[in-house]
Symmetry: C2
Subunit: 194 residues, 2 copies
DNA sequence: CTAAAAAGTTAATCTATATTAACTATTTTT
DNA sequence: AAAAATAGTTAATATAGATTAACTTTTTAG
């Protein structure tokens, strides 16, 4: 495997010198997960941030009744992790599980600290991607307040057409915060409308 | 007014030299807003990030039906702004309005870019505070999925007892994503339970 | 290839919360 | 201090979405 997808991604935000890129590469690990495997488990301290080369993950919270609530999916060229747990090295609120066989690049907490010290440009890089993630998290809160289930589904479909195709429907229902039964109903209503 | 509250806050994350602190101070502006005034309006490009010295603001989204949805309150020692609009300099999704007379420190977009270049330590500082904000935004998504209205209210009460005292009840209802009538009902139920 | 498990659908009933409306209490303005 | 405006409450009715259960379709494993 090669680190090119990650380097390309970083280069959209900051320009690394060849030396910096080599140091970065020396600090990352390639890893393959099988479908079903966990990258992070609720309660663990999240030790790494992951950049997905291929595959798909879901980040979800398991509530007191054993119900899964998916808060985001991640695919190629996205980061995945429990950010809150990673940055504060406290126990994770979320699970991150592979829903396809997944190849990714892992950066551990200690290595990321070292990387940030040696390549201060990466502070800027990570700041910018967290800003983006934060803005989209806030937009999601708005949507859950101001759109009903059907409207939220139509938004999801439009924003992430590729994800809709590759994940089971019951996970989309979970992402939308509704039951699979009600999701079924919405889809059949929409099918009639066209 | 003085910049000490901001300097104290920053020093919890990174240590500024005296020279850096002076440069920072040269780039900030003190400003007073009256209750009711807007710091950012939906549709504007958000030109500044604000650190609150005293007072209280609400950040809300006005939907197509003219309904307000409060996504967060901010008080002394908190930052407020439309982060998504500020960082990408695109039009804001949110309004930020003062709900008390409010004194704050403003940093404009251009000045913040300059500050980040001259004091790279601040990249680290802003990265860390955005990470914190992102983590709490994700936790809010979880709560809205896994707790009912009464449970969310109890959580809010416990987390932000001081905010509960100082803002009108109908704004708390909006923050919780419920109507003021249903919020009233919840409170009277809780009153009976004790 | 078949059996078992997992995923998805449909319909009936139930519930948390919204809506409407009428009323009371509090704050602001004159 | 009265009038007007804003904020908060209560109760009746309505609705989006949950729950339960029975069923069909698709995927996985032996």
């Amino acid at each position: 495997m090669n680190a090119q997808p990650l380097l390309n991604y970083i280069n959209k935000y900051v320009s690394l010198t060849e030396e910096e890129a080599l140091f970065l590469i020396s600090k990352i690990t390639f890893r393959k997960y099988l479908k079903g495997q966990y990258i992070v488990q609720q309660g663990d301290i999240c030790k790494k941030q992951c950049f997905i080369i291929s595959g798909c993950t879901k980040t979800f919270y398991m509530d007191a009744n054993g119900q899964e609530h998916i808060i985001l999916f991640a695919i190629e060229d996205w980061w995945t992790s429990d950010m809150g747990s990673f940055t504060t090295q406290t126990s994770a609120d979320f699970n991150v599980q592979c829903i396809e066989n997944t190849e990714l690049i892992e950066i551990t907490y200690d290595d990321s600290e070292e990387l940030l010290l040696k390549i201060p440009k990466l502070e800027r890089f990570f700041r910018k991607i967290v800003e983006k993630a934060y803005a989209s998290s806030q937009k999601r809160i708005i949507r859950s307040f101001s759109l009903n289930a059907k409207e939220q589904y139509l938004y999801f479909k439009e924003q992430y057409p590729s994800i809709e195709q590759r994940v089971p429907q019951y996970m989309i229902a979970s992402y939308l915060g509704i039951t699979k039964e009600f999701f079924s109903k919405i889809k059949s209503q929409l099918a009639i409308e066209d």
